[in-house]
């Protein structure tokens, strides 16, 4: 029951956060010194053009009214029209969102367990060879932007030793899973970035867990090492680690934007960078909102998973 109350509170909080996000997104687009019409047209626009764009975007109406209309539309799946294509944004978003989700979820499914395993291994002997190697790789992966890792990957695996496609160029409506080989490099890059962070967070909490009295008792009474790790330490290690992974979704999303642009992968990230170069403000606004929502929901799911894994709160 306690757990149910927590989840309900957490969902309520998410709704509040999403509302705040919508207000902030709208505010950044509409209240910051830059004017949307000028942002769309560039510096060279004539006053007439600016007026025309302001009219099509409804910018001549009061701010509060525009916000409410936009919010109501979004709640019904209507994100307005793209300035670049003239099409409604909602359907474009959906396909792209699916493609990004494929990339993100596969990454998560591989990287999270792998990173936890690496972190645990590093923590078993802090300062040991394995710890130093894993730590060194983590610093490298942490310090390099995704496109740097990605470009070296392309150079290595699709130019010097051409075994993988260096681009996932595709039609937005194509199923990305139809060409799994084109997913290997992008996912590899995203995994590398995730490994760095999660393995180090896991390592820190594992060292703490292994230092606690109940683990020492288990070791002293002769429980085999693997059993101490798997049965005794893990249950206490996983909940905080999963919550940390949830906090990390924002970074994964940033990584997706860069990786999708690098590999021409038709996801939300590529959509938004394209929209930026065409100054397609309604699309940018929509993507930012969707991405922040996905971030919030991802956080929520991680918290709930952490909670369900904590036996003290499950009853």
């Amino acid at each position: 029951m306690q757990a149910l109350g927590f989840i309900l509170r957490r969902v309520l909080l998410l709704v509040v956060v999403l509302f705040a996000v919508s207000v902030l997104t709208f505010a950044i687009v509409n209240v910051l010194p830059g004017d949307v019409a000028t942002a769309v047209l560039g510096d060279m626009a004539t006053p007439d053009q600016v007026l025309a764009v302001r009219k099509t975007l409804g910018l001549d109406q009061p701010l509060a009214e525009r916000y409410l209309r936009w919010l109501l539309g979004v709640l019904q799946g209507d994100f307005g029209r793209s300035l670049q294509h003239g099409q409604p944004i909602g359907p474009i978003l959906m396909g792209r969102l699916g493609n990004s989700a494929i990339l993100g979820l596969i990454t998560l499914a591989i990287a999270a367990p792998l990173a936890v395993a690496l972190g645990v291994m590093a923590a078993l002997k802090p300062g040991g060879v394995l710890d130093r190697v894993i730590g060194g790789i983590a610093v490298g992966a942490y310090a390099l932007p995704e496109y740097v890792i990605g470009l070296f990957g392309i150079l290595a695996f699709s130019i010097w030793w051409p075994v993988l496609p260096g681009s996932s160029l595709m039609d937005p409506n194509e199923n990305p899973l139809a060409r799994p080989e084109a997913l290997i490099l992008p996912i590899g890059v995203l995994i590398t970035g995730m490994l760095a962070f999660i393995s180090q967070v896991t390592r820190a909490s594992m060292i703490q867990v292994m230092g606690s009295a109940y683990i020492r008792t288990a070791v002293l009474k002769g429980v085999p090492r693997w059993r101490v790790v798997m049965k005794h330490a893990m249950p206490n290690l996983l909940p905080p680690t999963i919550a940390e992974i949830g906090m990390y979704f924002g970074y994964v999303i940033g990584g997706l934007v860069v990786v999708e642009t690098l590999f021409s992968y038709a996801g939300l990230g590529q959509l938004v960078t394209n929209a930026v170069s065409y100054r397609d403000v309604p699309v940018i606004q929509a993507v930012v909102l969707i991405v922040a929502a996905a971030y919030g929901i991802g956080n929520l799911l991680a918290d709930v998973a952490a909670l369900l894994m904590n036996p003290r709160l499950r009853s």
């Binding site: 956060v17 705040a20 942002a39 932007p145 995704e146 470009l151 990390y248 940033g254 860069v258 922040a292």
Partner: protein, 286 residues
């Protein structure tokens, strides 16, 4: 976060330096030199076209090769330190400064002031960093100062939360009570009593922010946001060079190496700093 408030003066102990510390310090020092004097160290102009030498491989004359306009990549990498690193340092300074003032105020005042400030910070933090920075730069327009503002906006709530978490504990200590009872004003308590106690944390936070600032600034430039050609920002050089990756890999390799070196140097120095000041792990800033 106990044990965080360090005494203001410590006995000075010469640190034992490892290879990683020296490397970090050397890289950062090199970067500072480049920021100050990068463009004047360049053998060629970073922006002038030289069609006679288009897409030449690295040689003695052009150690990093040339790009499609015949510009010397080496000169561009040297000159690119300023439009990449200065943005990172500026954004880290601005973000941490804003975060410190906000965190001090929220943590000391507590109550409704604290609630209001921190909920606003939460809302800012519910955007993934890169996405928020993108949106802000697009709306403000492409200029270095706007990139600084956008990245600082990403750092602000994260620094504020960190500082607040320490100040909330400190606010109930006797020395604050004492200051208040001898009639000190809020600004004295905030900046003369509380600030010195969070200073080590702020210094480490700043160093971590510089690293993520380098990454964010380079990523924004790579996405074509905030800088315009022919500015030799490293991220932008990678973006422009990518189309020639098969015939002229040096166009992406050297700017990539510069970015890697800069961020690894700041990471090493930041980690060392954290270690020296015996602070708990900070984790990756987004």
């Amino acid at each position: 976060m106990s044990g965080v408030a360090l005494p203001a003066r410590r006995r000075i102990v010469l640190p034992r330096l490892g290879v990683a510390d020296l490397a970090g310090a050397a890289i950062v020092l090199g970067m500072v030199v480049l920021i100050l004097a990068g463009a004047s160290l360049s053998p060629y102009s970073a922006t002038a076209f030289n069609p006679m030498h288009s897409l030449e491989a690295p040689s003695l004359a052009f150690p990093f090769g040339t790009d499609e306009f015949g510009r010397d990549v080496f000169s561009r990498v040297l000159a690119g330190a300023r439009p990449t690193l200065l943005l990172a340092v500026g954004a880290a300074a601005l973000g941490v400064a804003l975060g410190t003032v906000t965190g001090l105020t929220a943590g000391y005042r507590q109550g409704p002031v604290d609630e209001t400030i921190m909920r606003f910070m939460d809302a800012l933090m519910s955007f993934p960093g890169l996405i928020l920075a993108m949106l802000v730069v697009v709306m403000l327009g492409p200029a270095p100062i706007n990139v600084v503002a956008a990245i600082a906006l990403v750092f602000w709530p994260r620094s504020a939360r960190l500082v607040r978490s320490i100040v909330v504990d400190l606010a109930h200590r006797e020395f604050i009570e004492a200051a208040r009872s001898r009639g000190e004003g809020a600004s004295f308590i905030l900046f003369r009593e509380l600030l010195p106690n969070v200073l080590p944390i702020i210094v480490v936070d700043f160093s971590l922010r510089v690293t993520s600032g380098v990454l964010l600034a380079a990523s924004l430039a790579y996405l074509g946001i905030g800088v315009r050609p022919p500015t030799p920002a490293w991220g932008l050089m990678v973006r422009d060079g990518q189309q020639f990756i098969e015939i002229a890999p040096w166009l992406v390799v050297f700017p990539c190496l510069a970015i890697a070196l800069a961020s690894i140097g700041t990471v090493l120095l930041g980690e060392r700093l954290r270690h020296r000041l015996a602070l708990p792990g900070g984790g990756r800033a987004q």
